[in-house]
């Protein structure tokens, strides 16, 4: 397998302005040094609670939010080095699917206009060919041709999400960021859309960065899973390993917190104390130490390095002092 996307030490700080003349007085460290790789045709699930920076990360990777620093290498090109024009050209290979099916479609434009817009912008094919492509796309996402002249408000949430997916497929991208694509949908519709995404991945070999707060959804679609906490990736492993044996105390707590729809399996729950600290003023050392049931004195001092607790060909990365040598001694 070959690497499609490589992200190295990506940071996205949002300035907080205040005082006289709107000076920058602080930064919200939404994404604070994240690195990962995504292989062709695979899906990396990114899970974490609200405010952990997962959505910002997804947008920063596409340079929809301009990253503060770091490298984003997609198909060998460093996106951070591209100027506006070159970036626009590169947008053909990377797309995004959004969370809110009501906010993600322009309300005053027909479905045809919406799905065809990417083709128009990148001047792909003749008008005739574009129309044909739009029809094909509708077919792929399971909508009928009759919907073309209608407006978004005429559709239900699940249908709108399909329209959004059709739009992001228009340019035949090889990389898609899916930002909570099902969390605004009802359970029964969620599975429909999840199945669609899984099928697209199988049939079109698209790589996904799939962002969700729902561990169960992530498991269904992901090959690899990264867990984020306060702007950092604290655990990164294959889905199989991560769900079988989570290693980071945060991942463990997160897993145990999910209510299981089975009254007989009342899980033993790790209840975390307190709240997530503000990303404007993250704690020193390990960002999780303020709530960690296994915190050691050392955790307050040093940021834990990334440790591979798996094997060479089956890595399982954890950023935690429980697995480092200096802390153990």
């Amino acid at each position: 397998m070959s690497t499609l996307l490589k992200v190295v030490d990506l940071k996205k700080y949002f300035p907080v302005r205040g005082g006289m003349f709107h000076r920058v007085v602080a930064h919200v460290k939404a994404v604070d040094g994240v690195s990962f790789e995504l292989e062709k045709g695979r899906t990396l699930g990114l899970v974490g609670e609200s405010g952990c920076g997962k959505s910002t990360l997804g947008r920063a990777v596409l340079r929809l939010h301009e990253p503060t620093s770091g490298q984003i290498i997609l198909n060998g090109d460093d996106l951070m080095k591209l100027d506006r024009e070159a970036l626009t050209a590169h947008r053909r290979q990377m797309q995004i699917i959004f969370q809110d099916p009501y906010a993600s479609l322009s309300p005053r434009r027909t479905i045809a206009q919406t799905i065809q817009e990417p083709l128009d912008v990148h001047k792909i094919g003749t008008p005739r060919e574009r129309e044909k492509k739009v029809e094909e796309l509708l077919d792929v996402v399971g909508l009928r041709k009759q919907v073309l002249s209608r407006y978004p408000h005429e559709f239900s949430g699940g249908q709108r999400q399909r329209i959004g997916i059709a739009r992001s497929l228009a340019l035949n991208p090889n990389f898609i960021v899916a930002d909570e694509p099902v969390s605004a949908l009802d359970v029964s519709v969620q599975s429909q859309v999840l199945n669609l995404i899984a099928r697209l991945q199988r049939e079109h070999g698209i790589s996904f960065l799939f962002i969700s707060h729902d561990l169960a959804v992530i498991q269904h679609v992901s090959d690899d899973v990264g867990v984020m906490y306060l702007g950092r990736l604290v655990e990164l492993a294959s889905a199989e390993d991560l769900y079988r044996e989570p290693r980071h105390p945060y991942t463990k707590a997160l897993m145990s917190a999910i209510p299981v729809p089975d009254p007989k399996k009342k899980s033993k729950r790790i209840i975390l104390g307190g709240d997530v600290p503000s990303p404007m003023d993250p704690p020193p050392g390990c960002p999780f130490h303020t709530r960690c049931p296994d915190a050691m004195p050392h955790c307050k001092k040093a940021v834990p390095p990334r440790v591979n607790v798996g094997t060479e060909d089956r890595p399982h990365f954890v950023d935690c002092h429980l697995f480092t040598e200096e802390a153990a001694t």
């Binding site: 205040g18 005082g19 006289m20 003349f21």
Partner: protein, 317 residues
């Protein structure tokens, strides 16, 4: 201390605004304004005479120098003397501003208080007949021109065609009862016109607040309707209410008094401004425009501090 720091910051922040206002008024009223040269000269002046007068008036100086002088006048509050009467501008202001305030304040306060009261009543009976009557009255009030109200009220209250109970025009105030007699008709006119707009605005604000989740919460805990209205709804609506009241101050003081005073012949700042407009009395106009801009900046400042008082979420930092 926090407030003082904030005030200083805010006043410094207001400088660009004052500069902008003075610049525009300078450009319009002084630079492109009427040329006094020929008014001051006799018939068939010679070129030398023209040049001399122009030099005296400062017309031959470069643009920026003239603007600088204007700013200096602003900063030192020294606007010179009125072109038409020769009275120093500062004296004119000292004489007329108090009259205008005395004239305008009662109507302004009443207009807002009654507006809030009617709005509360309308909002409480939302969609009911009382609401519809109040809102109907409000639209009618909004549709009548201020000028028509002033003239009509004058006919009704002050002329021999009506009650003939109040002075038609002028300002001959020596006692409190004189004062009441002279302000009654202008105040009634102001309140009548302001009420339409105010009631409508405040009702919209209150009704908007009524639909908020926390109002439902308060209801879910058994809060009585009266308390709901004044504690949950009125207090939470204070920001738009304060904004409206504060921002209408500069407008009412100058524009409102302008019409009232010029029509009723009351020697306040509005009348002086009106006369200055019609005669092209630049020193007066410059002073009024400049001071209104400063008043506006101060209003902005006080408004922000009031926000802090009514809403704990607002930070002055």
């Amino acid at each position: 201390m926090e407030v003082l720091q904030y005030a200083i910051r805010k006043l410094i922040g207001g400088i660009p605004l004052v500069l902008g206002v003075t610049f525009i008024s300078f450009l319009l009223m002084v630079y492109f304004g009427p040329d006094k040269t020929y008014e001051l000269l006799g018939k068939n002046p010679t070129q030398e005479q023209i040049d001399e007068i122009r030099h005296e008036l400062g017309y031959d100086k470069p643009f920026m120098v003239r603007y600088g002088e204007y700013l200096k006048e602003m900063a030192t509050l020294d606007f010179g003397a009125s072109d038409s009467t020769g009275e120093p501008v500062s004296k004119v202001l000292a004489r007329t501003v108090p009259i205008s305030l005395a004239l305008i304040t009662p109507g302004f306060i009443l207009g807002n208080l009654l507006g809030i009261l009617l709005a509360l009543i309308a909002a409480y009976h939302r969609s009911g007949p009382i609401d519809k009557y109040i809102m109907g009255f409000s639209v009618v009030g909004m549709s009548i021109s201020f000028l028509i109200v002033v003239i009509a009220f004058q006919i009704i209250f002050s002329s021999s065609y009506g009650l003939n109970a109040f002075p038609v025009r002028g300002w001959n105030v020596h006692s409190f009862s004189d004062y009441l007699r002279y302000i009654t008709v202008p105040t009634l006119a102001t309140v009548f016109v302001a009420l339409g707009y105010n009631t409508r605005f405040y009702r919209a604000v209150l009704v908007e607040e009524m639909t908020r989740d926390h109002v439902r919460t308060a209801k879910a805990f058994g809060t009585r309707p009266g308390k709901l209205l004044y504690k949950n709804i009125l207090k939470n609506s204070m920001i738009p209410i304060i904004t409206r009241i504060m921002f209408s101050i500069p407008l009412v003081v100058v524009s409102g008094s302008l019409i009232i005073e010029s029509y009723f012949g009351i020697p306040g700042i509005g009348k002086v401004t009106y006369d200055a407009i019609t005669t092209g009395d630049q020193p007066i106009l410059k002073a009024v425009v400049g001071l209104t801009a400063v008043l506006f900046v101060i209003t902005l400042l006080i408004t922000d501090i009031l926000y802090r008082v009514v809403d704990p979420r607002v930070s002055l930092k």
